[in-house]
Symmetry: C2
Subunit: 399 residues, 2 copies
């Protein structure tokens, strides 16, 4: 058995980011920048007023001073003259500061009548002025390559005048679920069979993490059919089922017909011991367990970072956090465990993670109800309530 981290490292070592493509900004959310997003403009492009009021020379702004109003400059309608001593210009939030002025008198500190504004509160030089380039200058990196774009990044790219951005193509991931005993939801269920959940759970999982899923038809336990179904073009082929040692586990045998060069591992983990990884030509193949709980936990641990790598992300995509145990845990054996747990806010603000009492890997309902997985390292000693443990929060990822 090999450790989880080693298996993950060996998978990531074989994956390369997809090529870059251009998308328009309205489609950029959730995509991964393939090149740094660099500003095409300086923001603010010139000194702007931060408030509604009057531009003037600070030297003219003593309390009680009376200044001639030289004009008005609403945002979008700059005043192009040069302000003279003894003059003020009416302006608004976002209006350019005219030449000759160096500060802004707030509207509420001014009284205007008959073309004359009276200063009711002395001004200081440079107040309420947004300086040229104080947010960013043309050429500045606004978003680094490798970042999955948030809504704020999209706004920043817009402010930097980028109608197009260069992102990695979404990884296309084919999903092949196999088994004579499984049926798709709503289709006739064979005798002794069950409804397949892995294909659609994995498709939703892939969508949540920014990949483009392709759900292949369910393949019966027949090598030729499996081999034919697997010969699709994708950045990654994920199989579910058939990765254990039973004699009816045909996926590995079937894909060998297509030239699969395989690493097959027993991972020192629970749930989800057997994992297959290899290459069929240029296509990497990840074989997940058939058990739905095991398949999804393995997807969190292996598929998520694999897709993050394929998508060109600079982070692993798997955010680990800390929590305190809500109930004690027994010592762990030599397999890393991933306990389905609820989370609640703790008295000191640290989330409290309480493992469900039933951890049977056949209980998909409990996995769906879990807020987080508690990560128990191999050989972990017994842990008391209140001890700090590492968790992966699931719902925040949409998974």
């Amino acid at each position: 058995m090999i450790p989880v981290a080693e298996a993950r490292a060996r998978i990531l070592d074989r994956l390369r980011p997809t090529e870059a493509e251009i998308v328009h900004l309205a489609e950029a959310w959730g995509r991964v920048a393939a090149l740094p997003l660099c500003a095409r403009v300086t923001q603010p492009p010139q000194d702007l007023s931060a408030m509604d009021g009057y531009a003037l020379r600070a030297a003219d702004g003593a309390e009680g001073a009376r200044l001639r109003v030289a004009g008005s400059a609403p945002a979008g309608h700059p005043w192009t003259g040069t302000l003279q001593p003894g003059e003020a210009l009416r302006l608004f939030t976002g209006s350019p500061i005219p030449d000759g002025a160096d500060t802004v008198l707030l509207q509420e500190d001014a009284a205007e009548a008959d073309g004359i504004v009276t200063v009711r509160e002395a001004v200081a030089a440079g107040r309420h002025v947004r300086r040229t380039g104080q947010d960013f200058a043309a050429g500045d990196v606004l978003v680094p390559a490798g970042r999955r774009l948030t809504a704020r990044d999209v706004g920043l790219a817009a402010a930097g005048n980028l109608p197009w951005v260069t992102v990695h193509r979404r990884p296309r991931v084919a999903i092949l679920a196999t088994g004579d005993e499984i049926a798709l939801p709503g289709e006739p269920i064979p005798p002794g069979g069950i409804v397949s959940s892995n294909a659609h759970a994995l498709a939703a999982f892939l969508r949540a993490i920014g990949a483009e899923p392709m759900v292949l038809p369910i393949a019966p336990d027949d090598t030729d059919t499996i081999a034919a179904a697997a010969s699709v073009s994708s950045d990654l082929l994920v199989t579910s089922g058939g990765a254990s040692v039973g004699e009816h586990d045909l996926v590995q045998h079937a894909l060998a017909q297509r030239g699969l060069a395989v690493d097959f591992w027993k991972i020192a983990m629970r749930p989800g011991k057997p994992l297959m990884f290899g290459h069929m030509g240029a296509t990497p193949v990840l074989g997940l367990p058939g058990n739905p709980v095991s398949a999804l936990v393995c997807a969190v641990l292996f598929l998520l970072p694999a897709v993050a790598r394929l998508a060109g992300r600079s982070d692993s995509g798997v955010p680990h956090e800390s929590a305190r145990l809500g109930a004690p845990l027994p010592a762990n054996d030599r397999r890393a465990d991933h306990l389905r747990a609820s989370l609640a806010p703790g008295p000191d603000g640290v989330p409290v993670a309480t493992a469900f009492s039933r951890q049977d890997s056949a209980l998909l309902r409990l996995l769906a109800a879990a807020d987080a997985l508690i990560l128990r390292p191999p050989g972990a000693p017994p842990a008391a309530a209140g001890e700090t443990v590492e968790i992966i929060r699931l719902a925040a990822l949409g998974i």
Copy 2:
């Protein structure tokens, strides 16, 4: 000035969830269940083997016992006979347990030769059997109404044999950015103008939280044009800009032509003081500030819960967490503050939030770089490094 919580409550009080629609399971991820998702099948549908091995009567399973192999039942190919005393049935993970058997002998604890299997490790009744309905029974609620579906929920719905699910229609949210001074990215920038970021940032924000954005053309500062642009059919109209008191802030005046009944509030918050909320006929209208940082912070505080309500979610959509301060903060004034901050893992596992030294609401780049907002209540006393504060983590929401 009214408190943030009061403004939010008044907004939510006026919003109702969208109607329900049917979507197929492959499109259900991220949607909000409008009805409980109830299982149509029992899982497991009958007692199944949890392992590869042999089904037998526990009474026959003493160490050294020799049993006749009555047949073989791969998953999906049930054996329909009744197991007799002295017999064993070869089976695999997921195979139905035949009548007459009550336990499973593990493959690794068995030796088979010439149609006879020898028990090498005594069995216990009921071991390695997945009982009928241990995951769920037909009719059980798998996912409650009001939950935004995760990938695990999709898998659970599939396992429950639900090809279709009833969800709330995605809220359609129209976005109207106004201003003579703004241009869309890549378009000619007017003299003294800037590139508009709010429309696209808000569209990405809405997509991240499961709404369907509709970006209206930028409207100049002209009441008739604004009124015409705003007359679109949507579940919510969001305007940006024009909600402050300046004489060139025309949105409110313009929408009055369309019958806008308005609540206009100064919110006791920073950044983003002025907020408009009202109704134009049946359409609720939320007026955000024009400043991009203020607009996005207000979107987190007001638009996110508004969309959660429109989408039928039973939660508010705004997850508050705790963190420790990485640096001291001064006393706060009477306005709730939302400090842009970085997060780092702390020594005890609690995230450490450190407010950026610059909090100017003109700095969109710093908002995009922030991991979280630190929530500072009105009148909060000075806070030392290490004190616990409430935060909203931004990137986890995709916003």
